[in-house]
């Protein structure tokens, strides 16, 4: 390459350089000739090299073609083998089926029974303190549903074993430590007692078994009379101890959670309900106050009836005092003065009676008002959402019913209390109105009788 460049430079220089340099040109020509010779020999060498390489490649190609042919032959052989194997397998399965005969059905039954047992064990309280019960049954279920493999005798035995365990443990009361989930979602380990397959109790509370096998505290515990039995039941070591048992294995207790509490019930009554209940509270309070007052008055009056000197701490005493202060007036004036004194005493004795009676009469009316407003709410819900969803109507209906209950709950005790208080007040007023004059007359006769 350098030579060519030199030549080109020389040729370029030729036009500018003078003729005097011709001697150099000859040497240059020679040089170029020599260069050509050298180049041609180089080319020949290259050609030879290429030809050799080509031959080599051809050889390799031939070799690879032979390998391909070999492998194709192998593939065909294996395909043949596979086909043969498949036929063999079909034949063997047929043989197996023939040999299995009636056992085939038996395994079907086993599969079903194992599936049932699995669901029983999953939901059973016994699994709480017997962990890993499910693995044996799960293996059996898997194998029984898989046609390729037969469960072994040991694996089949897992099923009756677990069912026996279930039956035996259902009749036992067992206490053990167990991690439980509280209402707040935190887990803690407590002493848990399992009552057969019916329920779980611990630390004075009832627990429920969740589908995932976790033990959870009931969101809302049952009535106190059941709760109070838990501790004594847990601490009992022998003999009989009472405990509330849910025979539906948790369903009834879970319904209990949905049941509203008393306060929630009261809240369903709404404003009308609260007004009714406050009226009732006022009525009961007034009745109790007045009853206690009358009770005290009655005791003093009966003490007064036994004594001859008038004591001004009670109504009868005050009426009798009128006579003691007016011993010398004539009977008509005395009677007028007595009437006046009695009239002065009655308001205190009849105090609150009208309002209690009024409350007992108005409470059912308030209940009715709540019923009607509740029904209006219900019908509004029906207008908006239709009758398809009963939960939409539920709040109106519960308001209607709860207010009625509240009306009655207020009316019944106030009615009874009114009867009590009115009776007490009437008996004192009777004494004042009809017997005070008689008592005065007896006293007067004693004084004048001896004198007369």
């Amino acid at each position: 390459m350098k030579k060519i460049l030199t030549a080109a430079a020389l040729i370029a220089g030729f036009s500018t350089v003078t003729q005097a340099q011709s001697a150099d040109l000859n040497s240059l020509l020679n040089k170029v000739r020599e260069g050509r010779v050298a180049e041609s020999s180089e080319h020949k060498q290259r050609e030879a090299e290429f030809a050799q390489r080509r031959a080599e490649q051809q050889q390799m190609l031939d070799a690879e073609r032979r390998t391909q042919a070999q492998l194709e032959a192998e593939s065909a052989r294996l395909e043949e083998q596979r086909r043969a194997n498949e036929t063999e397998i079909t034949a063997q399965v047929q043989i197996r089926r023939d040999r299995l005969g009636q056992l085939q059905e038996l395994f079907g039954v086993l599969q079903q029974a194992a599936g049932d047992a699995k669901s029983v064990i999953q939901t059973s309280h016994v699994s709480v303190d017997h962990a890993d019960r499910l693995t044996g049954i799960q293996t059996l279920v898997d194998k029984a549903s898989d046609t390729a493999e037969l469960p072994s005798l040991d694996e089949i035995r897992a099923w009756p074993t677990q069912m026996m365990l279930e039956a035996i443990e259902s009749g036992k009361v067992v206490t053990f430590d167990k991690e439980v989930r509280g209402v707040d979602g935190n887990t803690s380990t407590i002493k848990l007692t399992r009552i057969g397959d019916f329920g779980l109790v611990g630390e004075g509370k009832f627990y429920t078994l969740k589908n995932d096998g976790a033990v959870e505290e009931l969101q809302r515990q049952p009535a106190g009379r059941f709760m109070s039995t838990v501790d004594s039941f847990q601490s009992a070591t022998s003999g009989l101890a009472a405990i509330g048992v849910d025979p539906s294995r948790g369903q009834i207790l879970n319904l209990e959670v949905e049941k509203p509490t008393l306060m929630e019930r009261v809240d369903q009554g709404g404003v009308v309900g609260y007004v009714t209940l406050s009226l009732g509270a006022v009525g009961v309070f007034l009745a109790v106050v007045q009853f206690l007052y009358l009770f005290a008055v009655k005791a003093k009056v009966s003490a007064q009836m036994k004594s001859s000197t008038p004591n001004t701490n009670n109504p009868l005493g005050r009426v009798l005092a009128v006579y003691a202060n007016n011993k010398n007036v004539d009977v008509e004036t005395l009677e007028l003065k007595l009437d006046e004194a009695i009239l002065k005493e009655t308001p205190a004795l009849e105090r609150f009676l009208t309002i209690i009676k009024l409350i007992s009469a108005v409470a059912p009316l308030f209940g009715l008002l709540g019923t009607v407003t509740g029904m209006i709410a219900t019908f509004q819900a029906i207008t908006l959402f239709g009758t398809g969803d009963p939960t939409m109507m539920a709040s109106g209906i519960s308001q209607a019913l709860v207010t009625t209950v509240e009306g009655l709950v207020v009316a019944i005790p106030t009615l009874l209390l009114h009867a009590f208080v009115a009776g007490a007040s009437k008996s004192v007023i009777h004494v004042l109105e009809e017997q005070s004059a008689g008592i005065i007359a007896v006293h007067a006769e004693k004084e004048h009788g001896h004198a007369a």
């Binding site: 539920a394 519960s398 209950v405 009655l408 009874l416 109105e433 017997q435 008689g438 007896v442 006769e445």
Partner: protein, 174 residues
Amino acid sequence: MLLNQAFGAIAQFMERGGDVLYMILAVTFIMWVLIIERMWYFTLEFKKQKQRVVDAWEQRHERKSWYAHKIRTAMISEINNNLTSGVSMIKTLVAVCPLVGLLGTVTGMIEVFDVMASQGSSNARAMAAGVSKATIPTMAGMVAALSGVFLSTYIERRAARESERLEDSLTMDH
């Protein structure tokens, strides 16, 4: 054996009717205790008291003065108080019985609607418990009220009649 069966039937009835039945039972029990007490008083106690009052009146040396008049009123009033004590309570209890029955009806209906809210309206069997709690107390309240209503009227009228007779027997004209 028969007694056991009877107790069983009663227990079953009480269970179906719910807790309100116990309230009705209590109200009815008190009502009947008061009624029987009145009957006892009318037939036995009252006659003795009446005799004592009549004797006391007859032994008076004069029966025409203002004093005598007032003493007579006091005597009658005392007996009258004895005669009518508890009568208003019986009447109130008679009036309360249907109210308690109604309370049972409404609480039963609440139970029905609770079931309806949680199980839908298709489960008639689940609602049956609430329906029986709604109907049985109503009936029981009515029966209890009816059992007392005739006797309470009778007692009231008898008290008024005895009081009048007493008044008649305390004569002022001799």
